[in-house]
């Protein structure tokens, strides 16, 4: 059966379409990648592991550059984690942000984080809290004032989504404040991560 000009063109069009659709995609078998490396999956609508890590790293660097921590009455200063609101439309664990900040600050030797002081008395480590209370009781210090933290860390995460045709854009704003015992914020910062695209991809 002779091929018509239209039929040939359609074949070429289909081939071109397949080439375009294939793009950079390939059938990659499962393998390990560096969580903080440039070969991780990037989603447009979602906070990826590297986003959490980047926001936390920026916050640690900002805190270390600030004179706030060195102004504490003792060294290392004691910090407690207050409320960090998730105002995105995703269910996320704020510890993905907070833990790296705690680790970075602890490594600096300038800050330790209380695991016994928390919002509503819900200690992160109830056993440690009980140990502290027992020690105070047996030492006859059960009426002693509690060891209050020098700083509390609070904040929120906000998400803003916009579209332009098929292109989607999400901006995640990480806001944190460090408040001293007088109730004043002695350090504040915010970091924004904006991602744009039509779909998720591998690599940044």
């Amino acid at each position: 059966m002779p091929r018509t000009k239209t039929g040939f063109s359609m074949t070429m069009l289909a081939a071109a379409g397949m080439l375009l659709a294939a793009g950079c995609a390939d059938s990659t078998p499962a393998h390990y990648v560096d969580t903080n490396g440039p070969n991780t999956v990037v989603t447009v609508h979602g906070i990826d592991p590297q986003d959490w890590n980047r926001a936390a790293a920026d916050m640690v660097q900002s805190l270390l550059a600030s004179p706030a921590i060195d102004s504490a009455p003792r060294h290392p200063a004691v910090m407690a984690i207050s409320r960090i609101k998730n105002e995105t439309d995703q269910e996320v664990d704020i510890d993905l942000l907070v833990k790296n900040i705690r680790v970075g600050l602890l490594q600096s030797g300038k800050v330790v984080t209380s695991t016994t002081v928390a919002i509503g008395g819900n200690a992160e480590d109830p056993l440690a809290k009980g140990t502290v209370e027992q020690e105070q009781f047996y030492n006859g210090n059960n009426n002693a004032p509690p060891d209050l933290p020098d700083f509390t860390l609070s904040g929120k995460i906000i998400e803003e989504d916009v579209n332009a045709g098929d292109v989607r854009q999400s901006t995640y704003t990480f806001m944190l404040s460090l408040t001293d015992r007088s109730g004043n914020a002695v350090w504040e910062d915010q970091k924004q991560i904006t991602k744009q695209g039509e779909h998720a991809g591998v690599g940044w």
Binding site: A15, P38, A56, G109
Partner: protein, 140 residues
């Protein structure tokens, strides 16, 4: 046949272009008489990819100290006529030369416009970490 060539040309162009966007180069102005005291750090460079040197040429390194911690600034210039994308990562080493494993040492994406100069900054993770290494990688 012309139709096929046309479609082929268009599709090839589309593949080559991908979704790249370009933006015009950067003009800038700054004070000619600098008042800041810059402590220049002699550096040692290992270049294995000339592509990254084109879009992220290291102009120089300077340092200062904040709160007992070393702060490093690496000035990077994109001498090409196109926007560049690259990744960078600061690593810090303690007084015994051991790498400090810290959550602040991560790869970061960076966009740099044509003819733009930017600064990459890092603060040492603790007072014992005084040596650093900056890694740069092109975005392929």
């Amino acid at each position: 046949m012309r139709m096929a060539i046309f479609i082929g040309t268009i599709s090839t162009a589309a593949i080559l272009c991908g979704c790249e966007t370009t933006s015009p180069p950067i003009n800038s102005v700054e004070n000619a008489q600098k008042s800041g005291q810059v402590t220049v750090v002699p550096d040692r460079r290992i270049i294995t990819d000339s592509a990254i040197s084109g879009i992220a040429e290291v102009l120089g390194v300077n340092e200062t100290t904040v709160n007992g911690l070393k702060k490093i600034q690496v000035r990077v210039f994109n001498g090409s006529s196109a926007e560049g994308e690259f990744f960078y990562k600061f690593e810090w080493f303690d007084s015994t030369g051991m790498l400090v494993d810290t959550p602040t040492s991560i790869w970061r994406p960076q966009t740099i416009e044509a003819n733009e100069e930017i600064s990459l900054i890092s603060i040492s993770p603790n007072p014992n970490a005084n040596d650093f290494r900056l890694k740069l990688q092109a975005n392929e």
